[in-house]
Symmetry: C2
Subunit: 355 residues, 2 copies
């Protein structure tokens, strides 16, 4: 073995005293070191490390002992380079400040982790350029799969994805045609279903309170669906209060406060549950009775909304399930199974008490 420079920040130590089977000049323990320590070939050690079946128990024992003695740590970089499939999955989400995507990521991790995969994360911040850069950078690691909650896939992004042909799952929104696979719900239908329900409950006067819909196109689609259902019944939003900011409880509260000053409609439809909780809090703070004085509806089915003194009327979007199913799709594909291109996990109307 020739000498070579240590990588910055990666100086593996020879190990303390007793566990120094083959100290080695550089301090790094490789497959070759373990092989020598165990008296077998490199490839045999490799087989043991990867848990392949065709190694005799006696050899496995010798090798495992040598691994422990030398303090060998598998190098997946070299493995992936040599042609083994990566256990990394690129995951691109628009945001992490919104708990919605944290939920999706959580669902993903549950499944991926138990199958031995890791997520490599990118946050696009609802920015198409950043999204493109992230795709390029993450694909450079040759991940086994890609999960993306797309913002607006650029031409370059589409080109990259077509070229690399990595198994890809688009998540959240099934209203558009997928590149490869898609898991989510129809946000348009979710918006419509809620409107139908509310109309059925007798509401006829509606207002909309929303966050930045320019970047969050799924929220825009929900609103469109909601409005379409209103139109079918000869109705429309009487007022809309929106702000070009990310959704949050205080924003919902603030916009609601603005509306309440000027004779608000009977029911306010919020762009999501965070915003709706703000509306609910504002109503409570003013001593209004919900839903008698003001009815409120949201979207997502966040747990906190269901635990509020007046449970939120909303639509459960099964976010963790979306993550899990997305992971399942990838895993099935890896296993060579045929999979559906499109999975609709469905939504659930939560009647609540706020409308």
């Amino acid at each position: 073995m020739t000498t070579h420079l240590q990588k910055p920040g990666h100086l593996e130590t020879p190990g303390d005293l007793e566990e120094t089977g083959r100290p080695d000049e550089t301090g790094r323990v490789t497959l070759a070191d373990v092989a020598e320590a165990a008296g077998v070939s490199e490839i045999t050690v490799s087989r043991v490390v990867r848990g392949l079946a065709n190694v005799s128990p006696a050899t496995v024992f010798k090798v495992e002992e040598a691994i422990a003695r030398t303090g060998y740590l598998r190098n997946r970089l070299a493995g992936a380079m040599a042609g083994a499939v990566s256990n990394q999955i690129a995951v691109i989400l628009p945001s992490l400040s919104n708990s919605v995507f944290a939920d999706v990521l959580n669902g993903l991790e549950v499944r991926l982790q138990s199958a031995g995969f890791h997520s490599v994360l990118g946050i696009s911040n609802y920015d198409s350029d950043r999204e493109t850069k992230l795709i390029e950078s993450l694909l450079g690691w040759r991940p086994a799969g890609l999960v993306i909650a797309p913002t607006e896939l650029s031409q370059r992004a589409l080109q990259l994805l077509r070229r690399v042909r990595v198994p890809t799952v688009e998540v959240m929104d099934i209203d558009r045609d997928p590149l490869d696979m898609v898991v989510g719900i129809s946000h348009r239908q979710a918006g419509k279903a809620l409107a139908y329900y509310l109309i059925g409950r007798g509401y006829r006067s509606f207002g909309y309170v929303g966050h930045d819909i320019e970047s969050d196109h799924r929220a825009a689609i929900r609103r469109d669906g909601f409005r379409a259902a209103l139109c079918e019944n000869g109705l429309d939003f009487e007022t809309e209060a929106t702000a070009a900011a990310v959704s949050s409880v205080p924003l919902g509260r603030e916009l609601t406060a603005g509306l309440l000053g000027q004779g608000a409609p009977r029911l306010l439809y919020f762009s999501n549950d965070d915003m709706a909780m703000g509306g609910l809090f504002e109503a409570m703070a003013r001593g209004l009775q919900v839903p008698r004085d003001l009815a409120i509806a949201g979207f997502n089915g966040l747990q906190i909304g269901q635990s509020a003194p007046v449970a939120l009327t909303t639509v459960e979007s099964h976010r963790a399930l979306i993550g899990q199913r997305a992971a399942d799709q990838l895993l099935a594909r890896f296993a060579g199974q045929a999979v559906d291109r499109r999975i609709d996990v469905g939504f659930t109307l939560l009647p609540g008490a706020s409308a």
Copy 2:
């Protein structure tokens, strides 16, 4: 170039029609292909790709044109193998269902992403064995750094970390001595500070409502700190309601309901804001006046608590900041700068109105 099998799920296509500079039998475009297309050497292309300065503008132009024409996609696996530092940072968190860690991750991503790094995620689920496995698996990718919110580092985990010598930041809790660097707050002091404040406000009757403290040792430390401050004043918790479950709003509500049946103490200290919101909701649902009939205090300073009709009395734990500072520590270390081993981001008492 010899023939070789395509990796499953990674068949890079030759590119469509016009952009096929060098189709290549396997469909993969390598540095060599770009070099040939540009009429320069591989190493020159490599320099351009990495944005190194010592290449003439004319050459850069030629190479970039060749890259676009061939549809080359950088292979970071090979780069990292050959000795370039990885742009991956291993991140191990106990949970993602709790928004606290999503906030930390968000803070990390903000900084890491803008410096060109990616997080590779592992969720330990508050399980020491899983944590150890994750460390081993993630370190196998030879990340440039590691950020971990430790659960309980096993002997094997410590051995691995010492051996690999990857720059490591422990986050959340600075009450213990760090392996390498640590960024967070003293949860013990946070608990104490809140208790002092409440005692100063005249409260003398306290109860504790908590989630599974076996696994969430930081919550346990806060409670210990709080109690220590009580003891200094000859006080103690009059009652404790705990459950061996993860923290959640409904759990907080349920445990509070249990306590309120039996003449609850004057003030309830909750293990965190999720739990406290549950308490607040239960009080509101019963028509109790907060803080007149029941005072409530939490921990974390979640935004929603501050937007509630009665703003939550709590301690802001600056989670996103912890993530950012952790990233900064790593980046500074990569830049060869000397860094503090311990960074206390501090906490902020939010007086609120619930106590």
